[in-house]
Symmetry: C2
Subunit: 115 residues, 2 copies
DNA sequence: ATCATTAGTATATTTTAGTAAACTATAGTA
DNA sequence: TACTATAGTTTACTAAAATATACTAATGAT
């Protein structure tokens, strides 16, 4: 039995399942796994998404200690999002997700314009 | 670019993200990874969950070719759910999820009544 | 003076997912 | 006769999540 933020879990994996209860948060981790990104950049990749939704997801990920938010004192503003140490430790999960997806796509989908 | 069920994806991983856009479907895979289970059994593990929700999630997983549904001609009815080959190939993903979660729980949570 | 840019916030509206509760068929049991 | 069990379905409702749209501050460019 695990206690975390007032919640109790039978199995540790349930923590992951609750964290990534939408497709967006894990996708953001996935995009950030290749380096830092700015708000607008992430937004472009995740289209269609509204500022409000992206903003709230990033805030959640920060509260979960999975990403870091760095503000630069510039105009127009610049904010960079980067994986934290715990976020980076999700890399093996991401790698297996990619491997599985490729296999699945090979079986059920059709690849066009590969490069 | 990948085509699958009328949708197009830039990256194969997006297929996974769309499949597991809720916490329930991957959790079901996780429970089934130790063998087959009946409807009620899954329902008990996933409480609180309604019949309608569980039923729809199982239907989705079946359509995605990730689980198999076996009906036995008995009264009261017996239906067993089992991972398909593609479902079983999610095992490495699950394993990494478990490993990461344990590490995360060790850092931010507190384990009580471990055994 | 006005436009463009970034990283959001604010407000109102719509969509979606999930819930609760009742119901089905079939056979065995009290 | 009524109750139990299983594996759902059906209906009506609600709460949560996402959307569209407009807005802000500060600066440089046109």
């Amino acid at each position: 039995m695990i206690k975390l933020n007032g919640n109790t879990y039978q199995f540790s994996a349930e923590i992951f399942f609750e964290m990534f209860d939408d497709r967006l948060k894990l996708m953001i981790i996935w995009y950030l796994s290749n380096g830092s990104m700015r708000f607008k950049e992430l937004s472009n990749y995740l289209q269609p998404i509204t500022n409000k939704t992206l903003s709230s997801k990033l805030k959640q990920l920060e509260e979960l200690h999975l990403i870091k938010r760095e503000v630069f004192a510039e105009v127009p503003p610049r904010v960079e999002y980067t994986l934290s140490a715990h976020g980076q430790q999700l890399k093996p999960v991401i790698d297996e997700v990619v491997a599985w997806s490729q296999h699945y796509a090979k079986t059920f989908g059709q690849t066009i314009n590969e490069e």
